[in-house]
């Protein structure tokens, strides 16, 4: 049978680094403020998952002297996919490192890692340890665990946004080599891509697993988590603000670029996070067409309500 969903089928994890030597502030923020579940720790590392996720982790935080994005992990179907990607990456002139199971991250199967030209480090894997749904598999209440209520407790990781000194090059690599499709993009006067939202999943709150923004260097812009809808996000904003969490200038944001309703804020180490809802229903099909924004309409693309307040430095990385 060859009618198979091959290649990348899911955003596996975002792996970031912060300067927090015992990761105490980090643990406290993510488990008692954002509402993730801690699933593992090693010296200088803690892993988390969202309550609706069955896999061991979707978010990894290291203590390192240089904070920022470490890598993004994507789940592929099986070892055949790893082999065919290794070949394809080699053909594209990219150095690929193979890693054994559990050698890079506890609970991760064997993997291949590489760096996208003008983009971040990516790791592809075919298996990850599964802790199972917290609500169980028999007649589950698909409801956030009581201990997480009153916090945002997002259901899933949604996307990772990074800046690139050459967004068109990074965009082309994600598309041509990794099979991503664009749901939306921004082009300059010459028609060159300066930003894009790329997907491999067809999910509700969909349209992006990675977002490429223009910038001087390859840096983390934000990590986004999925919420059910706008009313939830408004309430999440109360909880975060009442606990003194720094919320982005624009507050609750209807963002035409990506068709999301979202809130951006900062963790205890200055990492920018997003809670998002809405999005687009996408289809992993070569004929899908992106929404195209011209640079002249960028402000209204970034904020439907507060376009005049969109700061010049909107695309600056967080750390």
């Amino acid at each position: 049978m060859s009618l198979l969903h091959r290649g990348i089928h899911r955003l596996g994890y975002a792996w970031i680094a912060v300067k927090d030597s015992r990761l105490l502030k980090t643990r406290k923020f993510y488990t008692s403020e954002l509402g993730l579940l801690e699933t593992g720790s090693e010296p200088h590392r803690v892993t988390f998952r969202c309550w609706h996720e069955p896999y061991k982790f979707s978010f990894v935080v290291d203590h390192r002297d240089t904070p920022g994005l470490v890598e993004i992990g994507f789940h592929v179907r099986d070892d055949n996919d790893l082999d065919s990607f290794q070949k394809k990456l080699a053909e594209a002139g990219v150095t690929v490192e193979r890693a054994d199971a559990n050698s890079v991250l506890q609970g991760l199967g064997k993997s291949i890692a590489f760096t996208v030209p003008a983009g971040p480090r990516i790791r592809l894997f075919a298996t990850m340890d599964m802790l199972g749904y917290v609500s169980g598999y028999e007649g589950p209440d698909w409801v956030a665990p009581k201990a997480l209520r009153g916090m945002a407790a997002p259901l899933n990781i949604n996307h990772v946004a990074f800046t690139s000194p050459d967004p068109a090059q990074a965009n082309a690599f994600f598309s041509d080599v990794l099979g991503f499709l664009a749901s939306e993009k921004v082009v300059d006067e010459a028609g060159k891509t300066i930003s894009s939202l790329l997907f491999r999943m067809a999910k509700n709150v969909g349209g992006q697993e990675v977002a490429i923004y223009p910038g001087k260097e390859v840096k983390l812009h934000h990590v986004a988590f999925t919420k059910e809808d706008a009313s939830d996000i408004m309430a999440d904003g109360y909880y975060l603000r009442s606990d003194g969490v720094a919320i982005d200038l624009l507050g609750p944001l209807r963002q035409p670029y990506g068709n999301t309703f979202s809130l951006h804020f900062y963790d205890s180490n200055g990492i920018r996070l997003e809670l998002c809802s809405g999005g687009r229903m996408t289809e992993v099909h070569p004929e899908i067409q992106p929404v195209v924004w011209s640079k002249a309409h960028l402000r209204e693309a970034l904020s439907y309500y507060d376009e005049a307040l969109v700061p010049e430095e909107f695309f600056l990385p967080c750390v």
Partner: protein, 307 residues
């Protein structure tokens, strides 16, 4: 490559003008094409040519279901697979259905007919694909439904149809309901990352239980129930509810021919690939809560009424 997603439902309409009015004014779709005895409609935030085909008929129910594939050669592979499974197939030309390319019709063991096809003409989002103003005036200030989300089909031998879809076409089972004997009698299947593109339950041969349209916000589902009641549209006994299965906010109502529709909001992220995450199982005392979470009871006519 692979089956990508549920693309459209081709259904019968007793009074096609009344049905067109229902799917535009009540559901909130737009008309994208017409030919003799047919009306084609699409959601405002979907870019393919249609998600509903209305066919003038003297009966209600389902004509066929359209699924897209991501490679034109998939049609030949699916044809070979279907014949290996002993299923009847037939090729259709692009001219047979407005707005789309060549297709492969497969009759499933449950009698339902699927049309697999690769190409759809693009009508784009209603607000355009370039520098759009994403807010539309339609449907009394309620955000329009964004897309066709899923359908529940009913019939005999659904387990055989499910087996074919899973083993030959790579559908994944996300949740299932078990009967007293421990075997599955209802199946929730996906080809993407949503809880279901298609579901099957027992019922009269080749019948349709409902067609679901996606709403982006629970507040909009509530407002939609208000409008259904205000407009005297026939609804299910429970005005608004939540399915325990999938954890989605929902309301049901009927089109003028008696075909059941649903508005649904829920962001369940499902495993696309078979064999990774075990399916969720609903059995025995859990079933009423799985069907209707708040009420934990199933209305008497919920499973019986199909078209």
């Amino acid at each position: 490559m692979a089956v990508t997603r549920l693309s459209y439902m081709s259904i019968y309409a007793l009074d096609i003008a009344a049905s067109e009015k229902h799917y535009t004014d009540v559901v909130g779709l737009r008309v994208t094409g017409r030919q003799l005895g047919q009306v084609y409609l699409q959601a405002h935030e979907s870019q393919d040519h249609h998600c509903i085909i209305l066919n003038a008929s003297d009966r209600a129910g389902l004509d066929h279901v359209g699924f897209k594939v991501s490679d034109i050669n998939d049609l030949t592979e699916a044809e070979i697979a279907a014949r290996d499974w002993g299923l009847v197939t037939r090729r259709i030309a692009s001219a047979d259905i407005l707005g789309q390319g060549d297709g492969l019709m497969i009759t499933l063991p449950s009698g339902h007919v699927f049309n697999l096809f690769y190409h759809s003409e693009k009508v784009g989002y209603s607000y355009g694909m370039k520098d759009p103003d994403i807010i539309l005036d339609h449907v009394d200030g309620i955000s329009p439904v964004t897309h066709l989300d899923h359908a529940l089909l009913a019939g005999n031998d659904c387990d055989k149809s499910v087996k074919f879809l899973m083993e030959a076409l790579d559908f994944n089972l996300t949740e299932t309901i078990l009967g007293p004997d421990g075997s599955s009698f209802a199946f929730f299947l996906t080809t993407s990352s949503t809880v279901h593109n298609l579901a099957f339950a027992p019922g009269p041969p080749n019948s349709l239980h409902h067609i679901a349209f996606y709403v982006n916000d629970r507040a909009d589902v509530i407002r939609r129930v208000d409008m259904l009641k205000h407009r005297k549209i026939t609804t299910l006994d429970y005005g608004i509810s939540r399915h325990g299965i999938g954890g989605v906010t929902t309301t049901y109502f009927f089109d003028p021919s008696g075909n059941r529709n649903e508005f649904q909001c829920g962001i369940y992220e499902a495993p696309t690939i078979r064999g990774n995450v075990p399916p969720i199982v609903w059995a025995g005392e859990h079933i009423p809560r799985g069907a209707f979470y708040y009420e934990s009871a199933v209305p008497a006519n919920f499973f019986e009424v199909v078209t």
